[in-house]
């Protein structure tokens, strides 16, 4: 309970966001939209970390630092993914996942 807001509310919000991200990851074809779904998934995990930190372990900072590091990893991942996507676009002129088998060798 944080000033009237129960912990479960945060967790349920995070859960819904996570599984919406999973749905987008499975359904979408365009590589950039898949990347956006991944960002949704990472962000929902951050909400859980922060809520657990504040409500169950007040006075500690572990959850906050985990979130900071996850945000940094997400930034690194997005930059490398977009570099790869632009490279693929140069070779194949579209960025649907069906054409990605050319990356194997």
């Amino acid at each position: 309970m944080f000033e009237g807001v129960p912990l479960t509310w945060f967790l349920i919000t995070g859960t819904i966001m996570f599984f919406v991200g999973i749905y987008g990851f499975l359904v979408r074809k365009n590589l950039i939209t898949i990347l956006m779904s991944t960002e949704l998934i990472l962000n929902s995990v951050n909400i859980n970390f922060v809520a657990f930190n504040k409500i169950l372990y007040p006075g500690h900072l572990e959850g906050m630092f985990f979130s900071v590091f996850i945000i940094a990893v997400a930034a690194a991942e997005a930059s490398v993914a977009i570099a790869i996507i632009i490279n693929i676009y140069r070779r194949l002129v579209n960025i649907d996942v069906e054409n990605m088998n050319e990356m194997k060798y």
Partner: protein, 169 residues
């Protein structure tokens, strides 16, 4: 309903509605804008929990950095007027089933679990405390992950430049 509950409900509604729109919108630039709304509402949740530093990071790095990067790459790789094709039902149904079943299972588990009621502190996090933890090597110090993440960011930067560079051949 207190003011906090009201604000939480508002942010949670924005997060859920716009994350659904992010994965279902057929115009890719709009999907990126909806993602921006989701990330800003998440920053609002962090402000509600009084993690001001984290909310600032969320706004500058996620909403300011990653979304701009995504929009740039959308403009480089696709036409704005173009609509994405609709996913077929045979693809949609299993994904919906998997995501729905997972969500229902997780929410039921969360609702059944009895979380211990801890005394909450309502103070906001001291920025001096955060800075000391980030460079401290003692217990609750994060000097090693901090250094590792800086090496990771350098490696990602070098990798991105090399990957996106034009080949000479």
């Amino acid at each position: 309903m207190t003011a906090n509950q009201l604000m939480f409900t508002l942010f949670a509604a924005v997060i859920i509605v716009f994350s659904v729109l992010t994965v279902t919108s057929r115009r890719i630039l709009r999907a990126a804008t909806y993602l921006l709304f989701v990330l800003v509402a998440t920053a609002g949740l962090y402000f509600l929990l009084k993690f001001n530093f984290l909310a600032a990071i969320q706004l500058t790095l996620y909403a300011g950095g990653i979304v701009v990067l995504i929009i740039f790459s959308i403009l480089l790789t696709s036409h704005i007027a173009e609509k994405l094709e609709k996913p077929s039902l045979s693809k949609k149904l299993p994904a919906l089933l998997a995501a729905g079943a997972g969500a229902v299972l997780t929410i039921l588990t969360i609702l059944q679990y009895q979380f211990p009621a801890e005394a909450t502190d309502t103070g906001r996090t001291n920025i001096r405390e955060i800075a000391h933890s980030l460079i401290s090597t003692e217990k609750f110090g994060y000097a090693l992950p901090f250094e590792v993440i800086s090496v990771l960011l350098l490696a990602a930067m070098v990798g991105a430049i090399i990957l996106a560079k034009k080949r000479k051949d």
